[in-house]
């Protein structure tokens, strides 16, 4: 029996041990992010981008083009109660009463009907709504099988092949952004048009919005139109008290909007 291999092992170990502090010093000098970062194109790395949307409420004319485009792009059922995105018409009356209706893809009430309500109305406006792609999503937390999840770029998706249709996430969403697709019996919701944004296109609703009330971009990227919107407006999110940290930002949002 020779001692050779054992000493060899020990020697090698000691040598490696000596290298360790040197390597650690090197990493701290260069910075660990640089070593881990993808060498080719930074925005192509889903780790380094965070998609978000801005909605300028004072620009929304309630035409519902976004709703129609969303349904066409994502094969959403045409019935007026399946929406990935929808537009709400808020009406605040003189006596403080607030009425909200989802106008879906049309302006809902005809001009004549609106005229009749004129005596009651104090102010009125449209608010587009969609999944808020929360940074702290309650729907993901409650999914019993891991069929809904947050991607690395911050988008909340549903894996419809894996969803068991228990509807727990639909209950958990504080924004009412989810519905059960009766064809597949699985939960469905806005994906920020994930198949478009990953190819550099805009989400369908942003693409067709005639007044550019909807703005899409990456958080923390200075060249993104969202950055300009965030710079020029005071922003709010929906239900901030729930600590869901939404990534859909609203400007000129009325205090009555829930």
């Amino acid at each position: 029996m020779s001692l050779e291999p054992k000493t060899e092992k020990r020697r090698g170990f000691l040598a490696r041990l000596m290298k360790l502090p040197a390597a650690a010093a090197l990493v701290s000098l260069i910075g660990p992010e640089k070593l881990l970062a993808d060498s080719e194109g930074e925005s192509s790395n889903p780790d380094e981008r965070l998609y978000a949307m801005g909605i300028q409420v004072d620009k929304c004319i309630g035409c519902g083009m976004c709703v129609d485009a969303c349904k066409a792009e994502n094969d959403v059922l045409r019935e007026p109660f399946f929406f990935r995105t929808w537009v709400e018409r808020y009406e605040i009356h003189h006596d403080g009463e607030v009425t909200v209706e989802s106008i879906g893809s049309g302006t809902g009430v005809s001009a004549l009907e609106e005229e009749e309500e004129e005596a009651l109305r104090l102010r009125s406006f449209f608010v587009p709504k969609l999944c808020n792609h929360c940074d702290n999503p309650p729907c993901v937390q409650v999914c019993p099988v891991g069929a809904t999840f947050k991607t690395q770029d911050g988008v909340i998706l549903v894996d419809s092949d894996y969803c068991i249709g228990c509807r727990y996430c639909i209950q958990a969403c504080p924004y009412g952004a989810r519905y059960l697709d009766p064809r597949t019996k699985t939960a469905d919701k806005c994906t920020f048009c994930y198949h478009r944004i990953t190819k550099g296109l805009l989400p369908a609703c942003v693409e067709v919005c005639p007044t550019q009330a909807r703005v899409f971009g990456e958080l923390g990227t200075r060249s993104s139109p969202l950055h300009r919107m965030k710079r020029m407006n005071s922003l709010q999110v929906l239900k901030p008290s729930l600590n869901t940290e939404p990534k859909v930002f609203y400007s000129s949002l009325d205090g009555e909007v829930r």
């Binding site: 066409a72 994502n74 449209f126 069929a147 894996y162 198949h195 990953t198």
Partner: protein, 247 residues
């Protein structure tokens, strides 16, 4: 002879445990999808599936690549912020096969009224018409080119655009006043309304020309002490000039 022997009941239990563990491993292998847990508590494959869904809206860039001339006209008009597919429908199929699949060409009034019909909930300043009063039955396109909607003949009267204000004023005590009495609008305002905004009166003295106690206007016009009436408020903070008797 061995001093100790594993008792029979322990052996049987051990066999049960081994069977259970093997079953667990096999079932886990079978039930948990391959890519589960690669990126988090979900199937990494689902992300790939989500990125590979078909695209229906080709995007403005794809349209103007061929329809360059129309794109240029539109880009210089008030419809510059619109995308082609908003009115013409999703056109990715048309981009794939330009001759066989033709996009929608909307006609009539409905497609325009959708955005430009008057709704009180719409933001002030967005161009709207009351569809039953603005040339009813006439298709919009007979006067407005949708790619450059400014009509070739600019309107002569203020009420052509400011219809709601004109109608309100017509039933108020100010019905006999012309818009020019209070607003000074340059002729360019008719062609480029927002670049050349008309003037608005800025002080109490302006209303005082008719309503001050010492004004030389007709004695039927109500008079107030223009320096003190209403305290620190300006006239139009209480009286809407187009309908001054309203509250």
């Amino acid at each position: 002879m061995r001093i100790w022997k594993i008792p029979d009941q322990v052996v049987r239990l051990a066999i049960l445990f081994i069977v259970a563990i093997v079953a667990l491993v096999v079932v886990r292998q079978k039930l948990i999808p391959e890519s589960f847990g690669e990126l988090g508590h979900y199937r990494a494959e689902a992300v790939t599936i989500a990125t590979e869904l078909p695209i229906h809206y080709a995007g403005l860039q794809a349209c103007v690549e061929c329809h360059e001339d129309t794109g240029e006209i539109k880009a210089a008009s008030y419809h510059r912020s619109l995308t082609c597919e908003g009115c013409h429908g999703p056109a990715a199929d048309h981009v794939e096969d330009p001759t066989e699949v033709l996009p929608l060409v909307p006609g009539g009034r409905a497609a325009c009224i959708r955005c430009h019909g008057y709704r009180p909930s719409r933001p002030t300043g967005f161009p709207q018409v009351i569809e039953n009063l603005h040339n009813p039955m006439e298709p919009c396109m007979s006067c407005h080119d949708p790619h450059d909607p400014t009509p070739p003949e600019v309107p002569e009267s203020c009420s052509a655009c400011h219809g709601a204000i004109a109608r309100t004023k017509s039933v108020s005590h100010h019905w006999s006043l012309d818009c020019e009495t209070c607003h000074e609008a340059l002729p360019e305002h008719r062609e480029s309304p927002r670049a050349f905004l008309p003037s608005k009166p800025s002080g109490r003295e302006f209303c005082g020309q008719c309503h001050a106690a010492d004004a030389t206007s007709s004695s039927e016009i109500p008079r107030v002490e223009i320096a003190t009436h209403g305290g620190r408020y300006l006239c139009w903070q209480c009286h809407y000039p187009h309908f001054p008797e309203s509250r």
